[in-house]
């Protein structure tokens, strides 16, 4: 007789066979059978979070820092709804995740049962796909499909909703090695004719510009991109999601582009005659006003998702395919081509770019008696030798981290770019630290963001995660305050963080080390001390200049050439 397993056992076996290392979760009524099966095995490790949002962000951080899918297990009803923010976060940034949500018994579905919610319905707009498993016989195949869909093509989160009786019922277990879906066949190879056309445009350019995004990291194409860019000698700018795919310290890198990108990046975007977008999606924070965007360039767009192409900006040569494959094909063609880039034109272009660069657009006041947030990040970069994994929350600190921490490697910069989820940084850092136990993981945050998932300090204690939390505490929701200063005549409506906790005591109460740093002179000693505490979480509360704003800035709806540098410099 063939051995039959319960649905819960099938689920655990499937996760094991899928090679899952960690599941981030929180138990509850509908998933009790699954937690019982989890208890009886040792292959898959479970990380108990303090809130389901934390579970999804932690799994997300794990996925972003490793390239492997993050796995979440939550109960029905509130378990599932609490997970939604994290699912939407992963969806917007195309992060591979599999989220298993418990559901009430199949016979109770639709009866407004205790802790029942239509999880498939609620998550539909923010998942790549989702499943409701009604029969235990379909469970193993569905899990396989979920991992397959989550990790191939343009990745994304997949929800599998599993009713409680399905986890109790028995079936034969066989985990399929492969699944094929007739309705889902992602295109990987770029069209050769289009690639040829693109290479002709690339080689004919006099003022070329390369703009790369998160797709390069998701597609593990960092090496190909670096080879490609160096082969051509062209300038490259990277999106918030793409940082690290090309080394930031390389001279061909112009830094980030977009609303808070560098002057040289945005000016080069505006003035170029050939724009090659690789694994980037022309997001509104990058493009600004579409009609004013890079007006004089021929545009090439490489993306694995056809719906990303010509969505907000029309391009001349679209190429659907995985960025790595397409770049490798382009490299071959360029090496074999008789025509090579116009050296004189390129030299003139670089001269122009260097003039823009000379503006030193990220310069800030080094003589201030108050701690400048940029200074903290510069020092964090120096003292971690640029080797740390850095997660962030959302707001000013996120932009400063992106500007001042120079990422030379992919998967080191972990932030919620698309959805802009406050509360992401701390739980995401937990997932990163679990995946990279020996590495330094810094969570750059602010006093507003950190409060949104502060409960996860408890999870960090339970699993001994020695995160370094860099709290840039300006007693404001900084980015909200900045916009209110610029666009609402300084009416700071509800952006002041009143009644803040004593973060040192708060950290200590969770069993961690807390530090409060109030003077610029104390920043470096504190960082050094914290980084020495290899096995402790250190919460560093930096009391920073309240009035500091993020520059440069392009106002929403303006063109790249209409940047603002800091006020003092515009007067000068």
């Amino acid at each position: 007789m063939v051995l039959e397993l319960t649905g819960a056992e099938i689920l655990m076996s499937a996760l094991k066979d899928e090679g899952v290392e960690y599941v981030f979760g929180y138990p509850g009524g509908a998933v009790l059978h699954i937690y019982d099966a989890l208890y009886k095995q040792e292959d898959v490790k479970h990380i108990l979070v303090r809130h389901e949002q934390g579970a999804t962000h932690a799994a997300d951080g794990y996925a972003r820092s490793t390239g492997r899918p993050g796995v979440v297990l939550v109960t029905s009803g509130p378990g599932a709804t609490n997970a939604v923010t994290g699912i939407a976060t992963a969806y917007m940034d195309s992060i591979p995740m599999v989220i298993i949500t418990g559901q009430v018994h199949t016979w109770a579905i639709g009866s407004d049962a205790f802790q029942e919610v239509d999880s498939v319905g609620i998550t539909r707009p923010c998942v790549k796909h989702n499943f409701l498993v009604k029969d235990v016989k379909d469970l193993a195949t569905t899990i396989k499909k979920a991992f397959y869909i989550a990790t191939t093509g343009r990745p994304g989160p997949v929800v599998v909703d599993v009713p409680k009786d399905v986890t109790a019922n028995k079936a034969e277990y066989a985990y399929p090695k492969k699944v094929a879906l007739r309705s889902y066949k992602p295109v990987v190879e770029g069209h050769p004719g289009q690639i040829k056309k693109a290479v002709e445009l690339i080689l004919a350019a006099k003022r070329p510009m390369i703009y790369s995004g998160g797709g390069v990291i998701l597609g593990e194409a960092s090496k190909s991109l670096t080879e490609f860019v160096r082969l051509l000698g062209y300038p490259i700018t990277q999106t918030l999601m793409g940082l690290g795919a090309y080394p930031a310290t390389d001279k061909q890198s112009l830094g980030m582009l977009g609303m808070h990108g560098t002057y040289e990046s945005n000016m080069a975007m505006h003035e170029c005659d050939m724009l090659l977008a690789i694994g980037a999606r022309f997001d509104d924070r990058v493009v600004g006003k579409a009609e004013l965007f890079s007006p004089g360039s021929k545009k090439i767009h490489v993306d694995i998702d056809p719906s990303s192409i010509s969505k907000s900006v029309r391009v001349d040569v679209p190429i659907v395919g995985s960025v790595g494959n397409v770049l490798d094909e382009m490299i071959k063609l360029i090496k074999a081509a008789r025509k090579q880039p116009d050296k004189a034109a390129l030299a003139a272009w670089w001269k122009q770019i260097d003039q823009w660069r000379a503006k030193d657009c990220l310069r800030y006041d080094h003589k201030s008696k108050l701690i400048k947030p940029q200074f903290v990040l510069e020092k964090l970069y120096q003292h971690t030798k640029g080797e740390a994994f850095v997660t962030s929350d959302v707001g000013q600190h996120q932009m400063w981290a992106a500007q001042f921490y120079k990422f030379d490697k992919p998967r080191r910069w972990i932030n919620s770019g698309g959805l802009g989820t406050m509360g992401f940084g701390l739980p995401a850092a937990m997932g990163v630290q679990l995946a990279h136990p020996k590495s330094t993981v810094a969570c750059v945050t602010g006093e507003a963001s950190i409060m949104m998932c502060i409960q996860e300090l408890s999870t960090c204690k339970q699993y001994g995660l020695p995160l370094k939390i860099i709290n840039l505490n300006n007693r404001y929701m900084g980015m909200v305050r900045q916009w209110q200063e610029f666009f609402y005549k300084g009416r700071y409506s509800h952006s002041y963080m009143d009644a803040l906790p004593d973060f040192v005591k708060l950290a200590e109460s969770f069993g961690h080390v807390g530090m409060k740093i109030e003077k610029p002179g104390d920043v470096e000693p504190a960082l050094k001390e914290a980084l020495k505490l290899k096995d402790r979480l250190v919460f560093m509360d930096f009391i920073t200049d309240q009035t500091e704003n993020v520059y440069p800035m392009i106002q929403a709806g303006k063109g790249h050439h209409e940047m603002h540098l800091s006020p003092e410099r515009e007067l000068a």
Partner: protein, 166 residues
């Protein structure tokens, strides 16, 4: 750019929730749906959906791309890109008393409709054709005599030997 009417034929997995994925996509992205019909095909694992929408070329390009991106969608075709046939079916209940009884029967004949239910005071007429033809029939009736109108929404198929199949 002008808004154009498009008829999009979709073959999709006959799974529960497939329809709501399409409907949800349209509402989430602010696309218009004029009509939508869906039923299983000769292969019970597949459903065929006909969706009538309108939008500029850019929007319709996004609509087809976003539909293709849905995991349950196997294939789709914008019928309006080539010669095609569209049909809609209507069931209409009308008051049929006195002189109007004969008049309505004559009108139904002219439009090649069939009277499929008769009582002493009413008819149910079945009529198939393009939306325009159905509109025409409704307009030719005395508005006061119409009791109930049920329209199926558009079904469509491409002309010629090419077919939308898996």
């Amino acid at each position: 750019m002008n808004n154009m009417r498009h008829i999009i034929s979709i073959l999709m997995e006959n799974e529960s929730g497939a329809l709501s994925r399409v409907a949800g996509l349209f509402s989430a992205r602010g696309y218009n749906i004029e009509s939508l019909t869906v039923a299983p095909t000769e292969d019970p694992s597949l459903s065929r959906m006909t969706l009538v929408t309108n939008g500029t070329d850019d929007i319709v390009e996004q609509i087809t791309k976003q539909l293709n991106k849905l995991i349950d969608v196997v294939k789709l075709l914008d019928l309006t890109e080539g010669p095609h046939i569209e049909r809609e079916m209507m069931l209409i209940k009308v008051k049929a008393t006195g002189e109007a009884r004969e008049e309505i029967k004559r009108l139904a004949d002219i439009f090649r409709g069939h009277i499929i239910d008769v009582t002493g005071t009413s008819y149910v007429i079945e009529l198939t054709g393009t939306g325009e033809k159905i509109d025409g029939f409704i307009q030719s009736l005395d508005g006061k005599s119409i009791m109930e109108v049920v329209r199926s929404g558009v079904s469509g198929i491409a002309r010629g030997a090419k077919s939308l199949k898996v």
